[in-house]
Every structure is written in C-alpha cells, then in structure tokens.
Symmetry: C2
Amino acid sequence: MTTPAHLLRPVGRVESSLTDPATAPCQGDEGAPQAWLVFDEAYLPALAGLRPGAEVLVLTWLDRARRDVLTVHPRGDLTRAEAGVFATRSPHRPNPVGVHRVRLLEVTGARVRVDALEALDGTPVVDLKPVLDGER
Amino acid sequence: MTTPAHLLRPVGRVESSLTDPATAPCQGDEGAPQAWLVFDEAYLPALAGLRPGAEVLVLTWLDRARRDVLTVHPRGDLTRAEAGVFATRSPHRPNPVGVHRVRLLEVTGARVRVDALEALDGTPVVDLKPVLDGER
C-alpha cells in the first residue's frame, strides 16, 4: 500500500511545569498539573465559542516520542508482556498524536488554561475539539 | 511563533460503504455503518493485544476536509451563528484529524472491523488507541 504523508502544522504549544519525561505522569488523572495551551494568534478566530467549564479533547504532537516502535512493555514495566502500540496509550507509536481529555478553566485571548494535562512543556498542539455526548 | 510541521504517515485505510460526503452522517451514533480498518501489513505487530469488544479511538486524516477554514456554521446549518472550528467537530479545521470512538467487532490479521464509523471509504487511518477508564 503506498500512501502519501500529510503535513501536520502546530497551532500552538503547551506551557506546563512538566519538563522531564522520566517523571511526568502517564495520564491526566494521575496527578498531572494545570497547563496553558498557547495558540498562535493566527488561530484566534478558531477559538470563538469556547467557554470555561467545557470538556474538550486536546490533540498534541508528542515530539519527544519514538516513531519506530511497534510493540512496548505497557507503562514501561518490563515484567509485563509486550503489546502492540495500538493496544496501548504509549507515546511511542508510528504517529505520536496525543489525545488528552481536559476541562477548560480560562480562555484569555489565544491562551487557554486547562485542568490536568500530562503533556510536557513545549509540546506542539495540533487541534482542539469539544467532547461529544457519546464520549461521556 | 515559528513551528516546524510534522509528517503524518497513514498506517491504513477505512473500507466503508460511505462514499458521499454530502450524505454521510456527522457522527458515528447518527446511523453510521460498520466499517473495516485495513492496516498496512508492516503494522501488524502494532495490533497485537487488540480484542473484539474493546472500545478504541480511531484517529483518521480527513483528507477531503478544508484546512483554510477557522469558523463554520455548526453542522453546516446557515441559520446557526458561526463558531470557531475548535468549538465544533467540523471536519474542516487546520489539522483535520478525526477522532472516532468505536467498538472492535473482529480482528483478522491486519483487518479490523468496527461498529458505527462515520469516516468515508478510503480515509487514511493514522492511529488506534484504547479508550481509558477516565474517558468512559
């Protein structure tokens, strides 16, 4: 199968106190801190209608992940059997797109503050979508 | 802000009876049909551990969407006020990555059958992730 690649263009960045991949939580509900999503000013119109309290999916590009890995020990635990990366939430995968479900706390211009986000400081943001009823 | 772009490489394709964007449902729970995810054989190891019954997020590249649109009338309804695309699930957005929550019905080699999926036939698949407890 020959398929063309597609260009993902960051629309912003994560601003977070998390800087060390080794100690960052694996998931938002595991003690991750609040964070800011800092959008490029060019995307300000795309934020219209977002309100504090809303639950959204933040899509990131996990730029420090490996892309050449197809199987992993879940959560890096070597005592657990290897699984295919599509059966895990490992950041290491062919296309390291992170999907993070968060709640909006504040929307100030092109800066959006969210509750628990496990992404590292500087991680590129590529999309933001409201959570659908069916996803609750 | 200057940010480098990232290359998204499709890992498979959607095989579906949906071929017409004009009549396709907007969401999976709006009458979307079953579909097959046909992965490139190279990614077979990444599927290890996926079992029928599991709920997963399918990430797609919505290759027929527009990327130059920042505001839309929700669901294309011209009587509704325009909203920023990040406040909607419109396929038209700077990075048209689709996030689809589906249930696995069958895993046969590199072919995976899923329940209701609103993606069009031929849509590139870029990732598959298990749904986390916190996302239920």
